[in-house]
């Protein structure tokens, strides 16, 4: 096979593998972002954190938040809830960064697999 074609195919294969790796990492990040609190299930994302912060900023200390399953959940301590959301979000995003940095540095399939 022509060397240029071989290199092009090798690069295409690398990109397929890389995009699959990134998708797996993103999926894992979404699972890590799930917070179980007061028998509800919440996504620790900027929107939820921002909304809870808005409630706190207008003086609310407790309130009903609709969880990811559309269940209304009474949160007795919004401050503690926000702290938990932020912790979950930080944990997930830090892990996400470590993993994405690792794959971005790997410029071929062998490096992606640590071979």
């Amino acid at each position: 096979m022509d060397e240029r074609l071989e290199r092009a195919l090798e690069f295409a294969n690398y990109r397929i593998t890389l995009s699959n790796q990134k998708r797996n990492i993103r999926t894992r990040m979404q699972i890590l972002q799930t917070l179980h609190y007061s028998k509800g299930s919440f996504l620790a994302d900027p929107i939820t954190i921002g909304f809870v912060s808005a409630l706190l900023s207008v003086g609310k200390t407790k309130g009903v938040i609709v969880d990811t399953k559309d269940n209304p959940i009474m949160i007795e301590d919004l401050d503690d809830f926000r702290a938990n959301l932020i912790e979950k979000y930080s944990e997930a995003s830090n892990e996400y960064k470590i993993q994405i940095d690792k794959v971005n540095k790997s410029r071929n399939i062998k490096k992606l697999m640590d071979w």
């Binding site: 294969n13 397929i16 593998t17 699959n20 790796q21 998708r23 797996n24 999926t27 894992r28 699972i31 799930t34 179980h36 028998k39 299930s41 990811t68 399953k69 993993q99 399939i109 992606l112 697999m113 640590d114």
Partner: protein, 302 residues
């Protein structure tokens, strides 16, 4: 009220092709290492238990299982076609007809039943033991490159009810709904041909996934309601029987080969870290058994 007991159950019945007890031992260690609720009970029969005595060292058995429950059942013939990559095919007995008895047999109030080919590599399932949820199963699944399941793994037939997975079933014995679920499962099993006709699926192979799908459909009010907990919509990750394991780099770091369904000679390397994995290619587990035990040995000093 006394605190509810919690734990994981694994069922393993060997056949002349597949050493399910060795898979179950590995999966039990994965539970021990990666979950906080990590009591593990093995449900097996006398023959398999005797084989374990000779094939699995005592200290490993003790590291894997907290309890062993012997249930000798008459396994009716249920031959299943297995694949090992797209190119190798074999048939083996599929002894799954007493899986529904776990509700009665499980020593735990709150139980997570997992298949003996389901490798738990993180603490995802721990949350459920601290909830009031009566019943939980995976409603959806994906394969290694994010491919959707095959049609009969999405719906029982083309216009049929949704397919649910019996690979990981959580239940709380103290809740009536869980008992009803297992009663329906048992009823479907006992009237398999009738339900195959009613729900329009091929009756040749008895599949517990179909039993739980019918039970979930009924418990969800004969529609797609959300009474049955679906593990927050997180899909089960399946490694196809046509996929393979290339290398186990570490206990939570596996390199796999994902085949292309249209052009099965093409494969994509996939690396998974800290991700729960349903390894459907059983022979792939057998091929990497020694490597897995080597890694486990380093962590557990056994």
């Amino acid at each position: 009220m006394a605190e509810e007991s919690k734990g994981v159950c694994i069922i393993a019945y060997n056949n002349n092709q597949l050493d399910y007890i060795s898979f179950a031992s590995l999966c039990a260690v994965y539970v021990k290492l990666h979950m906080k609720t990590n009591n593990v009970a093995l449900i097996t029969d006398t023959g398999t238990a005797e084989w374990m005595e000779t094939s699995v060292p005592k200290n490993i058995q003790e590291a894997c299982f907290d309890q062993m429950i012997i249930q000798d059942v008459q396994h009716e013939s249920n031959p299943r076609k297995h694949l090992d990559s797209p190119w190798t095919e074999f048939k083996a007995q599929f002894s799954n007809k007493n899986k529904n008895n776990v509700f009665r047999i499980s020593p735990y109030d709150k139980t997570l039943l997992i298949d003996s080919d389901y490798f738990i590599m993180n603490d995802f399932y721990d949350y459920i033991f601290d909830t009031d949820i009566s019943l939980g199963l995976h409603r959806d699944a994906v394969y290694l490159q994010g491919q959707p399941p095959y049609l009969n793994e999405i719906q029982l037939n083309e216009g049929g009810i949704h397919h649910w997975w019996s690979t990981a079933v959580y239940f709380n014995k103290n809740q009536t709904e869980a008992e009803i679920f297992f009663d329906i499962w048992s009823h479907v099993k006992d009237n398999w041909d009738y339900y195959a006709l009613l729900y329009q699926f091929a009756p040749a192979l008895f599949r517990t996934d179909f039993c739980v799908s019918i039970a979930c459909h009924m418990l969800n009010g004969l529609n797609n309601d959300s009474f049955v907990h679906d593990f927050n919509g997180v899909p089960l990750l399946n490694m196809d029987q046509k996929d393979d394991v290339v290398e186990v780099k570490d206990l939570q770091d596996w390199i796999l080969l994902s085949h292309d369904r249209k052009e099965p000679w093409k494969n994509v390397l996939t690396r998974l870290e800290k991700t729960n994995l349903h390894v459907m290619n059983k022979r792939a587990i057998s091929r990497h058994k020694d490597s897995l035990w080597k890694h486990i040995g380093k962590v557990l000093n056994v």
